[in-house]
């Protein structure tokens, strides 16, 4: 269609202006700032819409400064009808009204005029100005050649730029030998994650393996613990043995003395022999010593004065002895108990004197606290495992059993620490501050034992106290009669009464001597001697001195035997064990060895416990599996990234390819016809220098007037640009039947010399046979028919 009339309501400098336009070509002449470019902008704006007030566009706005209406009309003719395009200010590009022969028609019919072109496409094909020509100049030879080869499509230059951009974008995402591009990194990450995934054992196998390991370790742990317990027992027993060693030594030494307990001299025999002997002595000395010495008399007087008490003492002599034994016994028992207490404390290092055994209700409280807040998940696992024990067979049954135990123990273990806080208070009152519930429970047996020993200690001490005070009363009593010798009051009493007995015998003798006649003395002595010798013979001795010695010896023996008995009771059942050691050093060596053993077992115990802990943790990890699931999650993310990046990369690559392919295809199809036209234009523009353009093997060959053929890259820059222009104009001519819009040329050839500019006018006339041309210039260099010139002055507008 041909533009026939321009009617401006208000556009930039132009207000209320009307121009008629020639249907073939129209030269618009005017000095700078005359509004030539604004006029061209007006044509574009009415056709395709006003520039919006956004971004860079806002500088292309031509809203009039005064109150006039923004916009105007363009009138086109298609030979039959007059088309009027009216555009005024409005939303997004302005309000468009389309009239055909003054009848409004749908706006969609605009494509009859524009051929479906967008503003950009129009600018890229039909508009030639300084900018578009210079941008061609700025291209490298190579770019220019590509540009020339793809000129057969609309906006090829821009399309090529887009394709370049796409290729750039795709290179940013991925290069086949790249390292840092995101898609390359995603690929690397994918490899890394897959490797990690393969490193995770099959979960189920791993679970099975760990369970077996755990079971084996648990067996060895319990064996170890048993050995440890045994060693502790041995350690304790050796500790006891060490304590008893001094007494044992004493016992052994005493036991070596050959003590003969047989043939005891009976008390009767002894007293009788003393009496007989005394009588004999008295009788033998009757003449000289028929009277008591003063000492004897005073002793006898003392006895007679205190006869009642002294006899009482004699009567209770055995009681006194018993009392002494009893005190000895009690002291030994006390000693024994002390040892037991020491052992209890050494077995339970956490035990403290202040701790009191818990009462049954307190124990309940302890257990109650344990029940609240049970670890359900763990118990659930244990329950599951327990069920599995019933449902599964063979090894699995064992495995499940193990899980059940482990989880149950773990639950209890956790529980213990949980419930600590809740029952802290009464535990503190009971003297257990800072101890775990488990330990508190373990201590109970020992604490009860301790309490029992303490109670027995108390009663023993009480009874010791009573016995001692009883003994003291005895001692006071004895003191009164000067009988109390610290070491052995019983012997003392015996000696005293032996003496009294002697004195009494002597008195009897003196009395009887006084009564009986002298001759009876001899008979009496004989009788006494006979009686005495019976006693001596009976005791296997020959003299009274021997008998006295024997008696003394026997008395000593009796003491020794008592001591031995006491020692034996003290050593008790340990005797056999003590017998196994030759010396104290052997015993203490043994003890040291056992101490070392205990330490070793302790270490081994700790180590297996640590191993158990880490294995259980591993097992929980396998079951809980969070790290594997994290990996799977990461992999999923990575796969989604890979696909997304790949799509983006491929879209860029394909888009680039597609543009190139489309441009080539368009050129291939349009070139043969275009070249015919372009050859003529090129000839004109080069002032006849070039006579032909040939297409060989997708390459353009330029034939000079002297028949010499050039490649595109052999041409000068200026000639190349002329070739480009020729092709572009040929392209416009080529698509003339699809798009028939006026070609707008805005001083595009100012740098061409005037000769060439004249040639251009030739060109313009030539092209305008088909395509309407509006040529805007500030120079008029050749004669142009005045009817084709529209002269603008600065005063023309407003």
């Amino acid at each position: 269609m041909k533009l026939t009339k321009i009617k401006i309501y208000g556009f930039g400098k132009w207000i209320d202006q009307e121009f008629s336009i020639n249907a073939d070509y129209q030269v618009v002449f005017g000095p700078n700032e005359a509004g030539k470019t604004t006029l061209l902008m007006f044509i574009k704006s009415i056709l395709f819409g006003f520039a919006t007030n956004r971004g860079e566009n806002k500088y292309q706005q031509y809203k009039p400064k005064k109150g006039t209406q923004y916009g105007g009309e363009l009138e086109f003719s298609d030979g039959d009808s007059i088309w009027t395009v009216v555009r005024v200010d409005g939303k997004s590009g302005g309000d468009l009204t389309l009239l055909r022969d003054n009848q409004q028609v749908p706006n969609s019919l605009m494509s009859k005029i524009t051929g479906g072109f967008s503003k950009e496409e129009y600018e890229r094909t039909h508009v030639l100005n300084d900018e578009s020509i210079f941008s061609i100049y700025r291209l490298t030879a190579e770019q220019l050649e590509t540009e020339i080869m793809s000129v057969g499509a609309v906006g090829s230059k821009e399309w090529l730029a887009v394709a370049d951009d796409m290729e750039n974008d795709s290179d940013q995402l991925y290069k086949s030998r790249g390292r840092k591009q995101p898609l390359v990194q995603a690929l690397d990450q994918n490899q890394k994650l897959l490797k990690q995934k393969s490193q995770f054992d099959n979960q189920q196998m791993a679970f099975k393996d760990t369970k077996e390991q755990l079971k084996a370790l648990q067996i060895s742990a319990s064996e170890n613990h048993l050995q440890y317990q045994r060693a502790i027992e041995e350690q304790n027993s050796l500790f006891g043995l060490l304590k008893k060693w001094p007494k044992y030594q004493e016992y052994k030494q005493m036991a070596q003395k050959n003590i003969n307990e047989y043939n005891q001299i009976t008390t009767d025999d002894w007293e009788e022999s003393l009496r007989l002997n005394q009588e004999l002595i008295t009788l033998n000395n009757s003449q000289q010593a028929a009277s008591l010495t003063d000492h004897e008399q005073s002793q006898l007087d003392f006895y007679r004065n205190n006869r009642f008490e002294l006899d009482d003492i004699k009567k209770h002599k055995n009681d006194l002895q018993q009392l002494q034994f009893k005190i000895g016994d009690i002291n030994r028992s006390l000693n024994n108990n002390d040892n037991q207490i020491d052992q209890l404390f050494s077995q339970n290092p956490q035990m403290d004197e202040n701790m009191q055994p818990l009462k049954p209700d307190e124990m309940l409280k302890l257990n109650d606290a344990s029940k609240s807040g049970l670890n359900t998940p763990l118990l659930a696992v244990s329950a599951v495992a327990l069920v599995m024990v019933f449902f599964m067979s063979g090894f699995l049954k064992f495995a499940a059993g193990a899980v059940f135990l482990v989880s149950l123990i773990a639950a209890i273990y956790q529980q213990r620490s949980l419930s600590n806080k809740s029952s802290d208070d009464f535990l503190k009152q009971r003297g257990y501050s800072g101890l775990s519930k488990q330990v508190v429970k373990q201590l109970q047996t020992s604490l009860v034992q301790l309490r029992q020993i303490r109670e027995s200690q108390e009663s023993l001490e009480k009874s010791l106290h009573e016995s001692e005070s009883e003994l003291n009363q005895w001692k006071i009593q004895l003191q009164k009669f000067n009988l109390n010798v610290q070491t052995d009051p019983v012997t003392n009493i015996e000696n005293y009464f032996d003496q009294i007995h002697l004195i009494q015998t002597k008195i009897q003798l003196i009395n009887s001597t006084q009564i009986e006649s002298e001759h009876s003395h001899i008979d009496r002595i004989e009788a006494l001697k006979a009686s005495l010798s019976v006693i001596l013979e009976h005791n296997h001795v020959s003299t009274m001195d021997e008998l006295t010695n024997l008696h003394t010896e026997q008395k000593n023996n009796r003491n020794l035997i008592n001591q031995l008995k006491a020692d034996k009771v003290y050593i008790g059942e340990d005797m056999e064990q003590l017998n196994q050691f030759k010396s104290l050093s052997e015993l203490s060596d043994r003890s040291k060895k056992v101490d070392e053993k205990v330490r070793q077992f302790e270490q081994a115990n700790n180590q297996t416990n640590r191993q158990l802990g880490s294995l259980k943790e591993k097992q929980e990890q396998i079951f809980d599996d969070s790290s594997y699931r994290r990996l799977i999650s990461e992999l999923k993310q990575n796969e989604s990234d890979l696909v997304e990046l790949y799509d983006e990369w491929l879209a860029d690559r394909i888009a680039g390819n597609w543009i190139h392919r489309m441009l080539n295809l368009a050129s291939e199809n349009r070139y043969p016809k275009m070249l015919q036209t372009a050859k003529h234009y090129f000839n004109l523009l080069t002032d006849g220098n070039y006579v032909n353009i040939e297409l060989n093997d997708q390459k353009l060959k330029l034939v000079k007037s002297d028949k010499i053929i050039f490649d595109v890259h052999e041409l000068s820059k200026a000639t190349t640009v002329q070739l480009y222009l020729s092709l572009r104009l040929a392209f416009i001519t080529e698509i003339y039947d699809l798009v028939n819009l006026p070609i707008l040329i805005d001083d595009a050839f100012v740098d061409f010399d005037s000769n060439r500019t004249e040639n251009i006018m030739e060109l313009v006339k030539d092209i305008s046979r088909n395509n309407q041309i509006i040529y805007v210039t500030a120079r008029l260099t050749s004669e142009i028919d005045n009817g084709h010139i529209l002269k603008l002055k600065e005063g023309n507008h407003a």
Partner: protein, 385 residues
């Protein structure tokens, strides 16, 4: 008689593209396949069903499904307590392997083997037969349906089948093949989109119980089937924790970041949804707004949404003003040559060697999607930059 027909529980499915969201949402998504499965079993109890049919792909990943197995076993045991039986087949995802299942299911569970077999039970004096088979490898190309026996001496017979219609990798079948067996109900699995292929008798894909990605759209669930007086009714019960949705808004010339956000807010109203949003006519948006979208600023704005989640945004760039219509012929003519699958595969061996990418390329819709993407890319570049 009542039973539940569920399939494709895909327990333990991981989700991609959620790293930017709150840890609570991530956690909920991670648990969603479990939560949906729980809904199936809870419904079985509440509705006092006689048995449950699980038609394959119960686990998402067989290599390491210990947690999922343990979970399922617990659920099965609960069913056992309530006297509910379970009939399950393994599908292409959880196909049976030798070292499979260290955890044994209780005896109310019937797992079908690799050969087609029929289990029978009696309910309400009705003799019920259930026929099915499990996958023992990832792909089953054999015509398994021909191995299903014709209706036996049962009052009611059900076929369980994990397969795709005419899909050679997954026990290919035609609906008419199924109908010719004379069964009363076909419990299908494998296809995640819910579909009733036939009504009398029912041939039903219940779909998955929880949508697994942005393309797995809509409410998901399972069927509660009631048989009364010989008449079968099937009721859909929803179970998805989050529902994946696709929404489209149109961009206008004068849209700003704020106006777009307010348009999107109007769409994000449904609770427990994950929305993939297409912004149509994105070419109308200003460069600044486009850059903001590309930088993820809009996604970020809705990041803390608790229930109506904006998952992804796809700006769609359309052709403006019949762009280059005169060259359309050449665009079209070169299209076939450019969108050549073999050419794409040959484009870069390193990329094609990656399994994820290779599988992606070999998907049926790949070229179609790629065409859309390329056109979108070109439109965006050509219009905007």
């Amino acid at each position: 008689m009542k039973f539940i027909h569920a399939a494709d529980l895909h327990i333990d499915t991981p989700f991609a593209g959620v790293n930017g969201f709150s840890s609570e949402l991530q956690e909920n998504l991670k648990k969603s396949t479990y939560t949906a499965a729980k809904k199936v079993f809870q419904t079985a109890i509440d509705k006092k069903v006689d048995f449950i049919i699980l038609a394959g792909d119960i686990f998402d990943d067989t290599d390491r499904s210990l947690e999922a197995q343990s979970f399922l076993k617990d659920q099965f045991e609960t069913m056992n307590k309530y006297g509910i039986k379970v009939y399950l087949v393994y599908g292409n995802h959880d196909y049976y392997r030798n070292d499979y299942s260290i955890i044994k299911f209780p005896n109310n569970v019937t797992v079908f083997g690799s050969d087609v077999t029929t289990a029978s039970l009696e309910i309400d004096n009705m003799k019920v037969g259930i026929t099915g088979f499990s996958y023992y490898q990832q792909h089953v190309s054999a015509d398994m349906v021909s191995q299903y026996p014709s209706r036996g001496k049962f009052d009611y017979q059900i076929g369980i089948l994990h397969a795709g219609v005419m899909d050679n990798n997954y026990a290919p079948f035609k609906v008419t093949d199924l109908l010719s067996k004379g069964y009363d109900y076909w419990a299908l699995g494998h296809i995640h989109k819910r579909e009733i292929l036939n009504k009398i008798p029912y041939v039903i894909y219940p779909g998955d119980t929880q949508g697994r990605n942005q393309n797995d759209l809509g409410e998901k669930g399972f069927y509660l089937v009631t048989v009364k007086d010989r008449i079968t009714t099937a009721q859909f019960i929803p179970s998805s924790v989050y529902i994946w949705r696709k929404e489209v808004i149109d961009a206008e010339d004068d849209d700003t970041l704020d106006s777009l956000i307010s348009k999107i807010s109007n769409i994000l109203v449904n609770q427990n949804t994950m929305t993939t949003l297409t912004i149509n006519n994105a070419q109308k948006l200003s460069d600044e707004v486009v850059k903001s979208i590309d930088r993820g600023e809009i996604l970020h704005h809705f990041r803390n949404n608790k229930s109506a989640i904006l998952y992804k945004i796809y700006p769609k760039y359309n052709k403006d003003n019949n762009l280059s219509e005169i060259d359309q012929k050449y665009w079209d003519d070169s299209k076939t040559e450019v969108f050549d699958l073999d050419g794409i595969k040959d484009m870069d061996s390193r990329l094609y060697n990656n399994e994820v990418i290779r599988e992606h390329i070999n998907q049926t819709d790949f070229l179609k999607n790629m065409k859309e993407l390329v056109e979108n890319t070109i439109n965006k570049k050509y219009n905007g930059e």
